[in-house]
């Protein structure tokens, strides 16, 4: 773990890059539409040094290099999918801030639906049961009832 990130942390920087992530404007693409696309792609790529930030937010040198790569590829007319694939090939699934849907991430992506359906189902069944079955008499109660109604 003795790495650049560790040094930054040891120096008390809360990977504080964020504090001065004002960067070289020359790295921005001249075409505003392309620049916007590049920013959107960058927002989906995780910075590998200041983890948990996207490369667009990070001022780490590696994030800057990756921003440049994204912009070069956008300018070269690559599709979003191609650029994400290029990045995943080099850094693995880790670089995607939103993991791709697969068998192993199915629980993650389906969680909103699973939780919602489970909640509605439990609420519905509880309500149904309560309407359908007034709780049956216990033996004790039945005995008392029998006694009251005079059946011996």
């Amino acid at each position: 773990m003795k790495r650049l990130s560790a040094i930054l942390l040891a120096a008390g920087l809360v990977c504080g890059g964020v504090a001065f992530a004002v960067d070289d404007p020359s790295e921005m693409l001249p075409n505003p539409a392309q620049e916007k696309r590049a920013e959107a792609i960058g927002a989906h790529l995780r910075c590998l040094v200041c983890q948990n930030e996207s490369i667009e937010d990070s001022s780490a040198p590696l994030a800057r290099d990756l921003r440049k790569v994204v912009r070069e590829q956008v300018a070269a007319g690559k599709s979003d999918q191609q650029i994400m694939d290029w990045m995943t090939q080099r850094y693995g699934e880790f670089i995607r801030l939103a993991p791709t849907f697969s068998l192993s991430t199915a629980l993650l992506w389906l969680m909103p639906l699973v939780a919602l359906i489970a909640g509605l189902l439990i609420a519905w069944r509880t309500a149904m049961r309560r309407v359908a079955t007034p709780s049956p008499l216990t033996d004790n109660e039945r005995a008392r009832l029998d006694a009251l109604s005079g059946r011996e």
Partner: protein, 184 residues
């Protein structure tokens, strides 16, 4: 029946919390023994052939190298990314010199001025059989490097079989790299 079902439902929270707690305990004990690193990144290059590249040498230290030269080797090679501005790289140097007696090490200076990198390598005697400069860090990206130092074990034919992102020392070499060499 109804009571059993109620019992099962009310026991669900503690079962869930128990599973989570067990997981946390495994993670924490892994962190203490060093088998679990919450900041780890799996490098997908392991198991794949080395990426294509050609980079120049450092002043006074030869010509640099290319992927073709790396693939053409008949012995395993340790490829080490370093920089003169990186403190763990300085600490790693004596260890690398010791390892270089068993295994040729090819160095790549990452995002470093060639003259600085050259002076750094020469200062106490170079551990590197060959050394090259990745001035703008583009080759490092192809290798999936996220910081320095990082090392890769490349087998004859050019397949990467091991990747490490900690500063190397002889102990780490024996425990992590030697088994791969023994398998040859």
């Amino acid at each position: 029946m109804n009571a059993t079902r109620r019992g099962i439902i009310t026991a669900l929270p503690i079962v869930g919390a128990g599973v989570l707690g067990l997981g946390f305990w495994r993670i924490l004990s892994g962190m203490r023994t060093g088998t679990f690193d919450p900041r780890a990144i799996n490098n997908p290059q392991v198991g794949k052939p080395v990426p294509n590249f050609a980079i120049p040498g450092l002043p006074g230290l030869g010509d640099g190298f290319t992927d073709a030269e790396l693939r053409a080797q008949t012995r395993p090679v340790l490829v080490n990314f370093f920089a003169s501005w990186c403190i763990p790289c300085v600490q790693e140097m004596p260890g690398l010199r010791a390892i270089s007696r068993d295994l040729p090490i090819w160095g790549v200076a990452y995002e470093d001025k060639p003259e600085n990198a050259s002076a750094f390598v020469k200062r106490d005697g170079t551990p590197y059989a060959r050394v090259a400069s990745d001035r703008h860090g583009r080759v490092a990206i192809d290798w999936g490097v996220t910081g320095v130092p990082e090392s890769f074990l490349v087998m004859p034919g050019g397949r990467i079989v091991w990747h490490g992102s900690a500063a190397l020392d002889p102990a780490l070499f024996e425990s992590e790299i030697r088994p791969h060499l023994a398998r040859l």
